[in-house]
């Protein structure tokens, strides 16, 4: 009766299983913990992430391993992305802690548990080799995030943001699913590697496939937040409690990059000509709208939201240049530069929202640009950290953002798209303006209020380390660059 049942190889998915189990355990333990002792939950969540990282390390074989009937894949790319994911979530929870303690409605164990479930969703997305796995991971992530955005129940703005996020997110999932179903219709399989094989074999109805591809790319664009599917980004970034904005603005970019790689590169590489054209349009529009709209913002969170749009556009440039007129020679260079870009962006973006959290205190959100006025007087050190973050985002050396831009541009030029590179640098120039404006506020203007920064020592140390990492990795970018290149070499 159980003849057909084979116990799947659980090892490749060990971190996911561990995290799922621990999230449930923490949920239970948290029931017994009073609000004042919430630190227990926090510590357990952090230990879980560290545990995941350790398991990831010890179980990584470096080979491409499929399990759960080919629904799940473990390769070096997923290992590397997941390690950065754990690190990012760890930092995010660290930064959030002070903020949520000061806001009663959010100081619940659910905050940490939802964050863990969201992390699990991202891990599943990163390792997905099946349309359903992708969808499952995506929904786990999205549903956790909707709840997190709405956690501050008293805030009307947050609730509205959560509604918007939910409605638009559901629409995006619908688009994605519709695209997947079309591709299933054309190829007869839901497995990503299977789709790739069918397409190699030929004899697939091209028009159905392209039809599906359009929806698929639209869905992905929604999740990445690139123009014209970006409308939710500014509102959600702005409306969500800052600690949740920090979460949304960092780790999910890694997962979004992963599903783009899985779906478009692993699955539909033979259609590269079609989706690359689409991505180029999305990328150019994102850099244009993102950078131009960011100039008009007075709210730092909104400004960073538009900056996120432009950065995702820039990252897409790397992915668009993998295959040049049927020649995949540049693929490794292109995709690894995009991967490096995402990692560099996540590191910088984490620090930028961390700065807002650092400056906020009970009953006060430091999310207006004017709140940063005269920071150099109030705290020269953190003004310096913010300076590094801003120049890194603007792509000025010696900061990691420069080498991120450098590696993507280099891939674009290598692929022969000189005009695209020129467009990209011109929009970076426009982008530099609003980053410079933040530096101007901090250094050239007088402070509006002289209240000293109240954040705890742990927060200060971690944020300083984050800022220094932006600088140090800008001087020595080789490590992460070659890690990305190596991981992709072994995974593609």
């Amino acid at each position: 009766m159980f003849d057909n049942f084979v116990v799947p190889d659980l090892l490749p998915a060990a971190p996911e299983l561990f995290l799922a189990a621990m999230a449930l355990v923490i949920l239970m333990i948290d029931l017994l913990v009073k609000d004042s002792r919430r630190t227990v939950t926090f510590v357990l969540a952090q230990l879980t992430l560290i545990g995941c990282a350790l398991i990831q390390f010890s179980t990584s074989t470096g080979e491409i391993t499929y399990t759960f009937s080919n629904m799940f894949v473990d390769d070096l790319m997923s290992d590397l992305l997941k390690l950065f994911l754990y690190m990012t979530v760890l930092i995010v929870l660290f930064y959030s802690r002070g903020y949520i303690i000061e806001r009663e409605a959010m100081n619940k164990g659910e905050y940490y548990v939802l964050a863990l479930f969201a992390t699990l969703g991202m891990m599943v997305m990163i390792s997905a080799n099946h349309f359903l796995t992708i969808y499952m991971g995506l929904e786990l992530l999205s549903l956790s995030l909707y709840a997190m955005v709405a956690m501050n129940r008293e805030s009307v703005v947050s609730t509205e943001a959560a509604m918007k996020y939910f409605v638009l997110g559901a629409l995006a999932s619908g688009l994605l699913l519709y695209g997947m179903s079309m591709i299933y219709g054309a190829t007869g399989t839901l497995e990503i590697t299977g789709v790739a094989e069918r397409l190699y074999g030929g004899g697939v109805n091209k028009s159905v496939l392209v039809f599906g591809l359009v929806f698929l790319v639209s869905g992905l664009a929604f999740k990445l937040g690139v123009v014209p599917f970006h409308m939710w980004i500014p509102d959600v970034y702005h409306g969500a409690p800052t600690s949740v904005t920090l979460f949304i603005g960092s780790a999910p970019k890694l997962a979004a990059f992963a599903i783009v790689m899985r779906l478009l590169v692993n699955g539909l590489i033979t259609m590269a000509q079609d989706w690359q054209t689409m991505l180029i349009i999305l990328a150019v529009l994102s850099m244009a709208i993102g950078n131009l709209a960011a100039i008009a913002q007075t709210n730092l969170k909104r400004m960073l939201a538009y900056s996120a749009i432009s950065h995702m556009g820039f990252m897409l440039l790397g992915i668009t240049t993998g295959v040049v007129s049927g020649d995949a020679r540049y693929a490794l260079n292109a995709y690894s530069s995009a991967m490096f870009y995402v990692i560099a962006y996540v590191l910088t973006s984490t620090a930028s929202f961390g700065m807002i959290l650092l400056m906020s205190r009970a009953g006060f959100e430091a999310d207006n640009l004017d709140d940063f006025k005269g920071l150099n007087k109030r705290s020269p050190w953190f003004a310096g950290v913010m300076l590094m973050i801003m120049f890194s985002m603007a792509g000025v050396p010696f900061f990691i953002g420069f080498f991120a831009k450098f590696s993507v541009l280099q891939a674009v030029v290598a692929a022969g798209y000189m005009w695209l590179a020129i467009v990209a640098v011109l929009f970076s120039l426009i982008g530099a303006f609003y980053y410079l404006r933040v530096v101007k506020l901090m250094y050239f203007d007088a402070p509006l209020d002289e209240t000293p920064i109240q954040a705890g020592m742990d927060m200060r140390i971690l944020l300083s380390a984050n800022g220094l990492a932006i600088g140090l990795l800008g001087v020595f970018p080789q490590v992460i660059m070659s890690l990305c290149a190596y991981a992709l070499l072994r995974s593609l």
């Binding site: 050396p397 420069f402 080498f403 640098v425 303006f433 250094y443």
Partner: protein, 494 residues
């Protein structure tokens, strides 16, 4: 040859010193910050002296070379070296940094540590630019040096400083981003190398050379600055604090001109010949037209800023004569302008500190109250006008000699600029210094103190030395310039 990594010292000693100064923190420790900054800048200057004394003048190639891998993923190396063209600028830069630290000694009372740190870090980064032999390394220093200057103008500048700082940063960034793409194109064409010296040998088709030349030119022309992309400079100069103006005029303007010699001419010889007419025309416009613009300025700093543009016009003019006389003359002019314009801005700073005005109309009869100052200011004004026996004469004269061989009318136009130069310099001097005491501000002036006298004295010695005995300066550059020109004469089109 020294076994010490002198060039690395020249770059990193000021940067580390800058970070140490930064660590002194608030203005309570201002005296300590000043002392540390002075100590750091002197130490940084001392390590550059062996570069000159140990320099082999018969060798036109790179000396004191250091080569380490930096980012193997893109074959980017930490590759340093100096030749006769770049060595003097490293020394000049280190020297000017001491002047700058001393110039802000009493004047800057606000955020002293940050002020000095910004200049020290800037000095190290600019040494990096002059010594990089790797395209990306050059670019990284080139762009990173914008950050300290942006802060210097914006934090310690005048009333309109924010506008000036943004204009400065965005203008220069615009130029350098296209330059970056040109570097990437060369990287791909050369089969994966960012080495500038290898690019010197790389054959490139004429069409590509022209495009690359234009991309380089935008980057360097903005920095020089050449007409018509010069408009950021007067704004930046007027708003910058005295130290900022000195660094900007004495060193930062040389970066663009240096770029022409290191990148445009040797990597793209055919395009350089092809487009030399364009550069010469723009240079002549700078020399003549901007000279007239300088004549009508009412703000002293603006006047000297415009005169800087005109003087830099001589430099680019000299480069594109493709003759040893022209190129060496241009290089001498660059070094000389470093001393003279630095001194001019310092002199204006001296008066500004006392009267808080830069308007020529607010002065008159200063000689009655500040005789020592008037004498020194006279020397630098003469040098600015290109009077023989001052350093200003040597460079301009050599460039004009070079131009005569190139084309008589070009030489004629350039020579006429010496008259305009004399006109605006001396007329300004006359209105400010001579005559009766104009108002009660001038009445209350006190002559320069020992610190100011020392700074101006050192600069005066340098100006006269270069004017009377330029041999030590020209002999180091001769072999490298000859090499360069031999290189430029060979076509790269295959």
């Amino acid at each position: 040859m020294s076994t010490y990594p002198l060039l690395s010292f020249a770059i990193w000693i000021p940067i580390v010193a800058g970070l140490v100064v930064l660590a002194t923190g608030s203005d309570r420790n201002a005296p300590l910050a000043r002392m540390l900054a002075l100590f750091g800048s002197i130490a940084a200057f001392l390590v550059t002296i062996p570069l000159w004394t140990g320099f082999d003048i018969a060798n036109g190639g790179m000396q004191f070379v250091e080569l380490k891998t930096w980012i193997p993923r893109f074959n980017i190396n930490y590759h340093l070296g100096v030749d006769g063209i770049s060595m003097l600028f490293v020394v000049l830069n280190a020297f000017i940094t001491i002047i700058v630290v001393a110039a802000g000694w009493e004047v800057i009372q606000n955020k002293v540590a940050q002020y000095n740190a910004a200049f020290l870090i800037m000095s190290g980064l600019m040494n990096g630019i002059f010594t990089s032999l790797d395209g990306v390394l050059f670019y990284v220093f080139f762009e990173a040096s914008l950050i300290p200057l942006y802060l210097i103008i914006g934090v310690w500048g005048g009333p309109n400083r924010v506008y000036a700082a943004f204009k400065f940063f965005l203008y220069t960034l615009f130029g350098s981003l296209l330059f970056l793409l040109a570097l990437m194109y060369l990287f791909i064409q050369s089969g994966g190398s960012f080495s500038i010296l290898e690019w010197h040998k790389l054959p490139i088709a004429l069409g590509a050379q022209i495009w690359l030349f234009l991309a380089f030119m935008i980057a360097f022309a903005v920095k020089v600055p050449m007409w018509p992309v010069h408009t950021w400079l007067p704004d930046a100069h007027v708003e910058a604090p005295t130290g900022g103006s000195i660094v900007l005029a004495a060193i930062a303007l040389k970066l663009g001109a240096y770029g022409f010699l290191r990148f445009s001419l040797p990597i793209l010889p055919d395009a350089s010949h092809e487009l030399s007419g364009l550069v010469v025309a723009l240079s002549l416009i700078a020399v003549v037209y901007i000279g007239f613009v300088a004549l009508v300025q009412e703000d002293m700093k603006k006047l000297v800023a415009y005169s800087s543009i005109a003087h830099m016009g001589f430099v680019t003019l000299g480069f594109f004569m493709f003759s040893p006389m022209g190129v060496e003359g241009a290089l001498v002019q660059m070094v000389s302008h470093g001393f003279v314009s630095g001194a001019m801005f310092f002199c204006i700073g001296v008066m500004y500190d006392r009267v808080h005005s830069r308007q020529i109309a607010d002065y008159g009869g200063v000689v009655n109250k500040m005789p020592k100052f008037a004498a020194l200011f006279m020397l630098f004004t003469m040098a600015n006008a290109g009077l023989p026996a001052t350093s200003g004469f040597v460079g301009e004269f050599m460039v004009i000699l070079g131009a005569v061989k190139f084309n008589f009318w070009v030489a004629f136009a350039a020579a006429s600029a010496m008259i305009i130069g004399a006109a605006y310099s001396l007329w300004m001097y006359k209105r400010v210094i001579f005559g009766d005491v104009a108002n009660h501000h001038v009445e209350e002036l006190s002559d320069i103190n020992k610190r100011e006298f020392a700074i101006l004295g050192v600069l005066a010695i340098a100006t006269l030395w270069m004017g009377l005995y330029p041999q030590p300066f020209t002999e180091v550059m001769h072999a490298s310039v000859t090499d360069l020109l031999r290189h430029v004469a060979i076509s790269k089109i295959q």
